[in-house]
Amino acid sequence: MLQPDRRDFLKLAGVAGVTFTAGLFPGQRASAQAAGNFHFVQFSDTHWGFSGPPNPDAEHTLEKAVATVNGLAQQPDFIVFTGDLTHTTDDPKVRRERMKRFREIVSALRVKDVRFLPGEHDASLDKGEAYKEFFGATHYTFDHKGVHFITLDNVSDPAAKLGDEQLAWFAADLKQRKPDDRIVVLTHRPLFDLQPSWDWTTADGAKAIELMMPYKNIVVFYGHIHQENHHMTGHIAHHAAKSLIFPLPAPGSQPKRAPLPYDAAMSGLGTRDVTMADKVTLVELPVAKG
């Protein structure tokens, strides 16, 4: 299999990216590496159906990001969407229309292995009913080249809880892992208290983090906060992704959590390439090729 050099990858990708590397798998062993390196792309907070001054380009931004990812010379093994696929609506019919149109747009992705998880905009008003019709289960696991992925749903409960049932399921799944297995958790909201006064938390997220603590090589990717953010809880790294609709201010940087003004360069928006090797390397991808 291909083992692209990172610089070659960036060159071939033909897009300006910001790289973030960290020893996020501190307990990594050579044997695990032998399982194979790969990369995936994270989309988040596409909010299909939103319209308003924070993004006058809202009808095209997602399509542009799809085209940019389709243009990557090294196509990812799979793509994950970490919630808020659609912008919320009180009308169940409109919600389904948005989900349908969203699915049509992302079906243009060259990579056909695409995984979804819900955000509160998709699932909180009907406890995930419409979401499940279009995208299936709201929490599930999958394995890819020696890495175990677990998606957690902290939005189908409108109080932003995982709930005891899901926590028990999470605990049971983790029990089957060895302490040095490579594990990735995908979710929508921060599992830790990033900014409680802005509700950037998960009500019972601390319980999930406690369950994760015995595992040395576990990392979390999430969305919700519409910006890049990197945070450690003990040895566990939590990486928030940019959105594709409008950026939000840095946690606590201003009194209110209001969208940042529109910037035609869309520098606050984008997707992210994640390479899983002995280290996890993140490359932030712009919406459109410059």
Partner: protein, 116 residues
Amino acid sequence: MKRRVFAALLIGSAVGGSLRLAAETSNEVKILAMKFDFTPDTVKAKVGQPMTLVLTSMDRIHGFKMPDFGIRTDILPDQETRVTITPQKAGSFTFFCDIFCGDGHEEMNGTLVVEA
């Protein structure tokens, strides 16, 4: 029909807002919750002076969370939920709805202004 709900909530926080089951206090403030506002959205309080927030929803279930005081409760339609606090520190403290209620939920918030 209106029922009174006495909310027993957790005590303790960095700010030290103390909380107890609400008895009749002279200092009551009614706050109405409705998609996607609290009315009023600015509430004044004084350090050391107990006050009771009387919370009612006009439409659907909402949440009321004030992290600096360690407070959260549901706000239900046609019910009064009473929360008594005694602010220990001057400053502005955010409260917000923490039950997703639609397009505008993220803007459903207010401020408790505590004066010395």
